[in-house]
Amino acid sequence: MAEMRLKSLDKMEKDELLRQVQMHQFSMHDLALYLDTHPTDSEALEALLAHREACERASAIYVRRFGALRKEQAEAENGWAAWSNTPWPWEKEAN
């Protein structure tokens, strides 16, 4: 039973980290759209950079613990297997 609980704790943490990445990524992209039409708006740029940093921080932790989010992040030591064999986000096992 403990093993089950530990696994679900891990899963909760993984989901929360992923949500952090997605949240900040969304804000970043939305602010980037605004900057497309307001390129000199320093407040917008500042907000974007803040979200980018938060996004990079969360994804660095996620990648280290749960594996690559993008294939460029796939680590060398376990080769390409980890990237191609771990369940894809849309697969049942991943959720």
């Binding site: 900040h24 969304f26 804000s27 939305d30 602010l31 407040e43």
Partner: protein, 77 residues
Amino acid sequence: MLPDQTVPAAPQGTFPAKLSLAMAYVPYQCWEEPMSAQDALEAGTVFPSLVKPFLMGKGGAADGRDAAEVFGQNGKG
């Protein structure tokens, strides 16, 4: 040009000085304090002025203000 018609209340700077008849204009968006990342993800935008949920039958913004009032965007020119 627009001899006597007046432009509905809009923050200064979001419209060209001279408006032409028979032309559609979209006000230029002004910077406003963005929502938190969490709220933005749920609302679908970081900008409060762009939160426009579909309201069956009732126009205006989510908080019930009518279109003319909402049109003022965030009031900051």
